[in-house]
């Protein structure tokens, strides 16, 4: 099953390449009788093309939600969006004639670059992250991991009932104060902020190691068969808990990465749109 980069065996890649190559050749060829800039006939031409291209690229936001549209498939559009978007980088750069400064024109160009490069990241993410995600989850779904954790917790609580109070509280706290997800940065960093309370003191419990450690110590102390088995089970359960949590943290991270870039790509694109409008207007206000 082909995916969007290889759509129609890279039709839009070819188109985009062709376009950029042609334009570049013309750029090198033509002598406007003045420094090459956006003001020459050729400058105006690629300027117009680029502007239209930007508008069209932004229309993708509509097309992907135009569910009745029979104008190609969203996959095809995305493919075109990616490749022509990359082409835009060349076109617009030539349009600048490599004249930059502290002005709205360069602002527009800069915004465009941000949009495009965030787009590059997005394309990469869309291709590789799902694979990483799947590899991480190993054939079962995230929901199943959550369920398994809930299940483990239930068993832990059950088992911990017979344990001495401080240990019981410790285990409760370990479950209570398990951290997963959270704000953007927590989601992006897979570091484990979990902690636990033991004898009224707060300890870090990264990867449940703190808890397991305490249980192991306890296990060393206990003498009677019964509780030894219990502790072993608990340790084992926390081990499983740790595994699932680890997997989920990575899963959450990947999900966040998959979505986050759009929150740069889109707003910047709109900023770009504004800058583009200003760019065009200003150039003609001060013709």
């Amino acid at each position: 099953m082909e995916q969007f980069l290889t759509y129609a065996s890279g039709r839009y890649l070819k188109i985009s390449l062709l376009l950029t190559v042609i334009v570049s050749i013309i750029y090198v060829m033509h002598e406007p009788g003045q420094p090459k800039n956006g003001g020459t006939w050729f400058g105006y031409t690629i300027g117009t093309i680029s502007a239209l291209l930007i508008v069209w690229l932004m229309y993708f936001g509509r097309r992907k939600r135009a569910y009745y549209s029979t104008l190609g498939t969203v996959k095809g559009w995305l493919s075109a969006h990616v490749y022509l978007g990359s082409g835009l980088l060349v076109l617009a750069t030539l349009h600048t004639g490599f004249q930059f400064g502290l002005n709205v024109h360069t602002l527009a160009y800069a915004l465009m670059c941000i949009a495009i490069f965030s787009g590059f990241y997005g394309a990469w993410a869309y291709v590789y992250l799902p694979i990483k995600k799947r590899a991480n989850l190993k054939t079962i779904s995230a929901e199943e991991y959550y369920l398994s954790i809930e299940d483990v917790d239930r068993q832990i609580i059950k088992l911990s009932k017979e344990l001495p109070a401080p240990l019981k509280l410790m285990i409760n706290s370990a479950i209570e104060r398990t951290e997963i997800g959270g704000d953007l940065f927590d989601q992006l960093s897979i570091e484990d902020k979990s902690c636990l309370l033991f004898n009224g003191e707060l300890y870090a419990n990264e990867d449940q190691s703190g808890c397991i450690h305490l249980l192991v110590e306890e296990l060393a102390k206990v003498t009677d068969q019964q509780s030894a088995i219990q502790l072993k089970q608990l340790i084992d359960l926390f081990g499983r808990r740790k595994k699932s949590l680890k997997t989920l943290r990575y899963h959450i991270k990947t999900n966040a990465l998959l979505k986050l870039w759009l929150y740069i790509h889109v707003p910047v694109s709109f900023a770009l749109l504004a800058a583009l409008i200003v760019h065009i207007l200003s150039v003609f206000i001060y013709w």
Partner: protein, 794 residues
């Protein structure tokens, strides 16, 4: 003393009510016996406020009791009222346990021991059967119920649910949210429950949400009007009695299927098939003279039909030979026919002319004709095309048709039938059929035919034989006329396999081949110590011929993926087939070669084998077109769902997240358009159809929201949904977040009913499946089983 009536109506369903009321109208001595405490038990079980349809709308109502589409409650009240107005003599909680005697003098024994004498009996007890009672003292108390209308009606009550089945578990768990719930289980585990429900209940019990009493039996119920709780439920546990003050007792002990009861009355069924219906005369009279069967039990699931029958049957008893209510319908159906006969004559003529229908009772045939269409074709009109997904059944009333199989044209003449292949296998048409000269054919919808096959053995037999003969001819001996194949056909046998049953396994001695008639199979080979499925073979294909040709042992194991029917030919008959048609060997060998090639495709990749078996576990063996998501490219944007919702009135027919995943293949919860769709099995208004070329299974607007399909679907891809508003302007949402997001429409206000919705493969949307077209990365794809191989080999 035993009371004496002319007419005794058993079962106060629509039919019964109508019959009794009509009897009352005519001042015939009568009694209406209802096993439960309310009339129309089945309709009582409908969820609260459910809208009840009056299908078929064209059919006029003929009953003293009024009935039109409306809210469940309204209708029930109306009927109650009707009974009063007509002074119907109705007796509740009067379950009939036995009938003996004969016409003119029946003795009807009730559960409470009373005996009633009757001249005629009208049996309208429906098919749901009666719920099993608690059977303990005081189980007639108000707070004892056998259904749960609406869980939200109960809050902060103490409720005891009795039973260990799915129904009981579901009730208990849903009630536990707002109530104190006990569940009473006779045994020490929930053995009968589905996996999902089992987890639910165990979890609920662990959390102490539901108190479970194992190894406990209900003992007795004491009314305690004084206390705040209306009663005390006394339970017998291993450790003695416990008393639970209760607000409510819900017993979910299943129902007693009526058939046993009915048979005990001496009424015969044509066969053991549970769907079969008793043999009835044109006047609804059963094989026991004087006992009339109406309503669902008689094969008329629709309310209006039943009520009409109620009316008619009373007339018949009085000896008035009135035309059934459907008469005008038939008239209009038949009027365009070139022979000037009245309806009954035409029907009779049809039955005589068409052997398949001859064994049918006039009534059944009438029923068939009501559903059927009669076409008068110009010569050389295409009746259906090869690879169409239509599956109706055609019989030739006059003239002839030409069946085009490849380059050959077979003429089929008056009395013959065609289209049974697709009818039985649920697969695409295997040939194109053109009308011949002066050709009149009767088209009977699949549903009707299936009903017929299950209820009339004769029809089944005929169809099966022809099917076999034609299959063999088509598959092996195209040139040879059917007659010459007869010996082989007679030796061929029809086999049925359950899902995952093995037809034959690798290494067996090859003694026969199978033509798959319906269902599908997987071919698996031993690699190391485990069986790895290598390919999937759909209906209308041949398996096992490799062995026969090589005349050796089986090279692979064949396993049925779903309930599968095959026609098997032993090696001898296969050999003389080979003798009969010299070219056969080559063609078969070619097929074998291709099979070999296909097999090798997978042999290397053991994972893809696993994937294939995974797909089969998901019941995709019976799929014709399924949505698969490639997890390696899915970015989880849910655009597929949104697309589906946006293009289908705001309700997504697929759930991306849900559904199992294996390796990179994810099977979201969405319709796979089964070969033999379970959802179609029991649809009162026959609102579920199979589309044309697409083969999509879809629900049309005539859905009455009964929810049968939802329950029948093994894959849970049908939902009951309220109709929703049209969505607001897109740009307003896009720019100002005004109005709804695409695909998140508001529910229409006004009392609408929930109707069944499911994937219709976007049959009405040009461009095809929206989910696939809306997938930005090409992860979502609709695949038909033949192409699973391509999916799993990535």
């Amino acid at each position: 003393m035993t009371k004496q009536y002319k007419v005794v109506v058993i079962g106060a369903g629509p039919g019964g009510i109508s019959a009794a009321a009509h009897a009352a109208e005519l001042n015939i001595s009568h009694v209406l016996l209802e096993a439960s405490a309310k009339i129309a038990n089945t309709i009582q079980k409908y969820q609260k406020g459910k809208h009840v349809m009056a299908e078929p709308s064209i059919l006029p109502l003929r009953s003293p009791i009024a009935f039109e589409a409306g809210k469940r409650e309204a209708i029930l009240d109306e009927w109650q009222q009707g009974l009063l107005d007509n002074k119907v003599n109705i007796q509740y909680n009067a379950a009939v346990v036995n009938i003996d005697g004969e016409k003119g003098d029946f003795k009807i024994t009730l559960a409470n021991g009373d005996v009633i004498q009757a001249e005629f009996i009208i049996l309208g007890i429906g098919v749901q059967g009666n719920p099993r009672k608690l059977g303990v003292a005081g189980d007639d108390a108000k707070f004892v119920q056998y259904t749960l209308d609406n869980p939200d009606d109960h809050k902060n009550e103490t409720i005891v649910v009795v039973g260990a089945g799915d129904a009981a578990i579901e009730n208990a768990v849903v009630l536990a949210n707002n109530n104190k719930v006990f569940i009473v289980n006779r045994r020490d585990e929930f053995a009968r429950a589905k996996e999902g429900n089992l987890n639910l209940i165990t979890a609920a019990i662990d959390n102490g949400e539901v108190e479970c009493c194992y190894n406990t039996n209900p003992h007795r119920i004491e009314l305690t009007p004084k206390r705040d709780k209306p009663g005390i439920f006394v339970l017998k546990t291993a450790s003695g009695e416990i008393q639970v003050p209760v607000d409510r007792i819900i017993a979910r002990l299943g129902a007693i299927p009526p058939r046993a009861l009915v048979e005990s009355f001496g009424i015969e069924f044509p066969n053991s098939d549970p769907n079969s219906i008793p043999v009835l005369s044109a006047k609804y009279e059963s094989n026991v003279p004087g006992i009339y069967v109406i309503g669902a039990l008689g094969g008329y699931p629709l309310i209006k039909q039943a009520m009409n029958q109620g009316y008619e049957v009373v007339e018949y008893i009085l000896g008035n030979d009135i035309n059934p209510a459907d008469h005008p319908l038939l008239e209009s159906k038949l009027e365009h026919l070139p022979f000037d006969l009245d309806v009954d004559q035409t029907l009779a003529m049809m039955q005589t002319k068409i052997p398949v229908f001859t064994p049918l009772s006039a009534l059944t045939f009438r029923e068939v004709m009501l559903d059927s269409q009669v076409h008068v074709f110009e010569p050389n009109v295409e009746i259906f095309k090869k690879n169409d997904y239509t599956n109706s059944f055609y019989t030739i009333l006059a003239g002839d048709v030409n069946i085009v199989i490849g380059d050959r044209v077979i003429k089929s003449t008056q009395g013959n039938f065609f289209g049974e292949m697709s009818l039985i296998s649920g697969r695409r048409r295997s040939a194109t059929v053109m009308s011949g000269d002066s050709c009149i054919v009767i088209e009977t919808p699949r549903r009707t035919m299936i009903k017929l096959i299950t209820s009339v053995d004769a029809v089944k037999r005929v169809l099966d034989e022809t099917f076999i003969a034609r299959t063999i001819q088509a598959k092996f001996a195209p040139k040879i006329p059917i007659e010459q194949l007869q010996p082989i056909v007679s030796k061929a046998q029809l086999n049925q396999y359950r899902a995952n049953e093995v037809l034959f396994s690798e290494g067996d001695e090859a003694n026969c081949l199978h033509v798959i008639r319906s269902g599908s199979v997987t071919v698996s080979k031993k690699v190391g110590d485990k069986n790895i499925p290598m390919s999937y073979v759909a209906a209308n294909n041949v398996v096992g011929e490799m062995g026969l040709l090589g005349n050796t042992v089986r090279s692979a194991t064949i396993t049925a993926t779903v309930k599968t029917e095959t026609i098997s030919l032993d090696s001898d008959s296969f050999n003389d087939l080979l003798a009969k048609s010299p070219t056969l060997r080559e063609t078969m060998e070619l097929e074998v070669k291709q099979r070999h090639l296909e097999n090798t495709k997978l042999e290397l990749e053991s994972e893809s084998g696993d994937i294939l078996s995974f797909l089969m576990q998901q019941g995709l063996g019976e799929a014709t077109d399924v949505l698969l998501i490639n997890e390696d490219t899915c970015i989880g944007c849910d655009n597929c769902e949104t697309a589906c919702a946006a293009t289908h009135g705001g309700t997504s027919r697929l759930n991306r997240k849900a559904g199992p995943t294996f390796a990179h293949v994810h099977v979201p919860t969405s319709c796979r358009h089964c070969e033999d769709p379970s959802c179609m099995k029991d649809c009162p208004p026959d609102a579920i159809h199979r589309g044309g070329l697409g083969g999509e299974v879809f629900i049309d607007d005539s859905c009455i929201g009964c929810g049968n399909c939802e329950r029948n679907c093994p894959y849970g891809v049908i939902q009951m949904e309220y109709p929703k508003e049209k969505n607001s302007n897109f740009w307003n949402w896009m720019f100002f977040d005004a109005g709804e997001k695409p695909g998140e429409n508001k529910v229409k206000d006004g009392d609408n009913i929930k109707k069944a919705v499911k994937c219709d493969m976007c049959k009405d949307i040009d461009g095809g499946a929206a989910c696939v077209r809306a997938c930005p990365t090409g992860a979502a794809n609709r695949v038909s089983p033949e192409n699973f191989i391509n999916v799993v080999n990535l």
